[in-house]
């Protein structure tokens, strides 16, 4: 524990750069823990278990001795330069910790129409000016003549929000931030594990989510959050449970029951959100434990202008939700696809930020790379992964079972692990960018999870993939996905050309509808109740179906 007022002679100062924040630490404290307890954000994609390198920091001064796994993670030059993983680093003396720059403002989340229909408003003006009525409850006073609302897409990685005029449905502005809970873990399972192991962590994550929403509210209103009179939130069930402080126990173990499937209304103030007096926050309804209100919102958005049936909707993320609509019946499934396509668990994975590889072309011995900002490659993001894997397959760099072939150019073996070199280490000490055998395995698992879900839904509807009239790919990853590569590596089905459409953040668009319109909320509730949930993992043939789909045909 760091205590500012203690006078233990063994204590020392740790300074975080570039913020300059200083903390008092005791010998033996773990850097990641110290950072978490004091609100310093260091990402930990694997949950701080020493399995990845996302918490890599550079330590100047009394750098802790590298652990044996640190030696596997970093080159000796990196270790000499002070690179350590925060989850492994046990502090023993004064030092400066240099954090890699995090992109806290996220772009590319603001899809959807600029105005949504209001058939039946949520708030109506009360007789007294400045006050509004939400059913029988009063909201206000509001500073202006308009009542504003905030639609929040509470994602595991990013939180996107839009400010709307509740009467007209006009979208005034949008903003997005990285979900600050990533300091605990990149994925929902890791966050649940932390919250279950230590209730204080659960409270901390609730607070982080609330603070992020409060920050978005300030940003959207130029600091005038009290102009917001209604909030609608959609997210996966774990994000909802954490935000509302609901018990997670039943969600974390079989048979995986959420605390509630229905919609939840809370006074915003009860969560610590300081908006207009009397403002309510509604979290949308869910289909099943792992098909949350974000998927319901995406379905609502698609249904607003229904495509020709049969159609499928897929939102690829750490958890991938898929629905199929055929002959008036909606069936939904969820697949544990993991963070491979978000770069989360890959050795050189990263977000879609400058330096991220987005496309690769392999021709003989030559590799050409496209990066965001056309700068030197730093890592690889989801769309780059799909492009790379399809190129490696096409060129025989990996076989159909996913094994890297040592005979191919660019493939080498380091300490028993094969890797494909995308960019060699640079002279300035920049780390090489590689795609390892383990990375390929992670991609295979993700692809297998998604394709098993897709194929089993098709089967339950009695359809072949070529019969699908519209295949809708939603989500940030899906938006920038190279469809040709995705089909080539078997991630997406080979439906006839032109039938696959990329719609971006459909959940974010759908939650805007739910924010302003009571009818949209009713429809969302109906969708959630009527969707038939297909439990994939309980099927006897799941494993073998899964294993077969992890290969590249």
């Amino acid at each position: 524990m760091s205590k500012e007022d203690s006078h233990n002679p063994t204590e020392f100062l740790v300074t975080f750069q570039p913020s300059g924040q200083r903390l008092i630490c005791l010998p033996g404290e773990r850097l990641l823990e110290v950072a978490r307890q004091n609100g310093v954000r260091i990402p930990a994609d694997c949950g701080g278990r020493g399995r990845c390198r996302s918490c890599a920091v550079r330590i100047e001064g009394a750098a802790p001795d590298p652990t044996s796994t640190d030696r596997d993670t970093f080159s000796s030059a990196e270790l000499d330069a002070g690179w350590r993983r925060a989850c492994q680093a046990q502090l023993h003396g004064p030092c400066s910790v240099y954090l890699p720059r995090l992109l806290s403002i996220v772009t590319g989340q603001n899809d959807g129409p600029s105005c949504v229909p209001v058939e039946q408003p949520i708030l109506v003006p009360d007789r007294e000016p400045g006050f509004w009525l939400r059913d029988d409850y009063r909201v206000g006073p509001l500073p202006g003549t308009r009542a504003l609302g905030m639609a929040v897409d509470l994602g595991t990685s990013n939180i996107a929000a839009a400010l709307l005029d509740l009467a007209s449905g006009e979208v005034i502005c949008t903003a997005a931030v990285e979900n600050p809970q990533v300091v605990f873990s990149a994925d929902v399972i890791g966050r649940m594990t932390h919250a279950l192991a230590n209730p204080a962590s659960g409270c901390q994550m609730q607070q982080l989510a609330v603070e992020a929403i409060a920050e978005l509210a300030r940003r959207l209103t130029d600091g005038c959050s009290e102009a917001i009179a209604e909030v609608a939130v959609a997210g996966n069930s774990v994000m909802q449970h954490l935000l509302l402080g609901l018990p997670l126990e039943s969600l974390a173990k079989a048979p995986y029951r959420p605390y509630t499937l229905g919609e939840t209304n809370r006074l915003a103030a009860a969560l610590g959100l300081h908006l207009a007096l009397g403002t309510w926050l509604q979290v949308g309804p869910n289909i099943a434990a792992f098909i949350g209100s974000d998927h319901v919102a995406a379905l609502l958005e698609v249904m607003a202008d229904p495509p020709k049936s049969p159609w499928m909707l897929i939102d690829i993320g750490t958890n991938t939700e898929i629905s199929i609509f055929s002959e008036g019946v909606l069936r939904s499934a969820s697949c544990a696809s993991g963070p491979a396509f978000e770069g989360g668990i890959l050795s050189c994975g990263m977000r879609a930020a400058p330096g991220a590889i987005t496309r690769t072309h392999l021709v003989g011995d030559n590799i050409s790379l496209e990066t965001i900002g056309s700068v030197a490659p730093v890592g690889i993001c989801g769309s780059g992964v799909v492009s790379l894997v399809s190129e490696m397959l096409r060129n025989g760099v990996i076989d159909k079972r996913g094994r890297l072939q040592l005979t191919r150019p660019g493939v080498r073996e380091q300490d028993g692990l094969r890797e494909f070199v995308l960019a060699e280490a640079a002279r300035d000490g920049a780390m090489p960018v590689v795609f390892t055998q383990t990375d390929i395995r992670a991609v295979q698992l993700a692809k297998a999870a998604i394709r098993t879900g897709l194929d089993m839904l098709l089967e339950s509807a009695g359809l072949q993939e070529e019969e699908i009239e519209r295949f809708i790919v939603a989500g940030a990853f899906g938006k920038y996905l190279d469809l040709e590569s995705a089909v080539a590596m078997g991630l997406l089905p080979a439906v006839p050309a032109g039938r696959i459409v990329q719609v971006g953040n459909a959940a974010g668009a759908g939650v805007r509808r739910m924010l302003v319109c009571a009818r949209a909320r009713q429809r969302a509730l109906q969708l959630a109740q009527q969707a038939q949930y297909l439990d994939l993992a309980s099927r006897q043939d799941f494993h073998v179906a899964f294993a077969r789909r992890s290969f590249f045909a």
Partner: protein, 212 residues
């Protein structure tokens, strides 16, 4: 390559159709079913070492289990009662509260193909079921799998029940699953832990086949 070697290599290469064809052909040619099973066990052992070297992946192990199961369905009726002599009995299952079965099934298949008799209790196994399976079968090895952190409590509970039933000093206990490590092993009171099927086979051999 003779017929049996062909079977070993087809199975090792995970050639599903070819393996089954070769097995049927060998039966027609009058090769003793026990020898055919032996060839398949050699193939499974080769798959295990390819997995260890990184050439094969979890999915390959699942496929190998699937092929081995199909081979078993063909050979079992032909093998004399009890089939080959078993190396020993192992009780295996995923602990209560957890329904993950992929890893558990891989381990069970690998143990079976290595010659052990496995009493597979399935997933979400109540404590009492583990204890009664040990009592009824007289097995001296217990394997428990769990992928969730919550599963650790269930493992500990099960081991306590085994102790309460007076079986603890007669039974070797191994645990495995995603987050399991040496600390978990110690905390729940198991004897050993492993993170892949090969380790489970090695442990079972170490405990039940002292010569190995």
């Amino acid at each position: 390559m003779n017929g049996l070697e062909e079977i070993t290599s087809a199975l090792a290469d995970l050639e599903e159709e070819q393996t089954l064809q070769l097995v049927r052909k060998a039966i027609e040619e009058g090769i003793p079913p026990g020898n055919i099973l032996g060839a398949c066990q050699n193939g499974m052992a080769e798959i295990g070492s390819r997995f260890e070297s990184g050439d094969y992946f979890v999915s390959d192990l699942i496929m190998s289990g699937e092929i081995f199961k199909q081979v078993g369905a063909i050979l079992d009726p032909l093998l004399e009662s009890g089939g080959m002599e078993k190396l020993g009995k192992v009780v295996f299952g995923t602990v209560h509260g957890d329904i993950h079965d992929i890893g558990k099934d891989i381990v069970v298949n690998m143990l079976k193909s290595a010659g052990f008799e496995v009493i597979d209790l399935g997933v979400d196994v109540p404590v009492a079921k583990f204890v009664s399976a040990l009592q009824e079968s007289g097995a001296t090895v217990l394997g428990m799998s769990g992928l969730l952190t919550l599963a650790f409590d269930a493992m500990k509970e099960t081991i306590n029940a085994v102790t309460a039933a007076g079986l603890r000093d007669k039974v070797h206990i191994m645990i495995g699953g995603g987050p399991v490590d040496g600390n978990v092993c110690k905390a729940v009171g198991a004897d050993q832990w492993g993170n892949d099927a090969q380790q489970a086979v090695k442990l079972a051999k170490q405990w039940l086949v002292p010569a190995c």
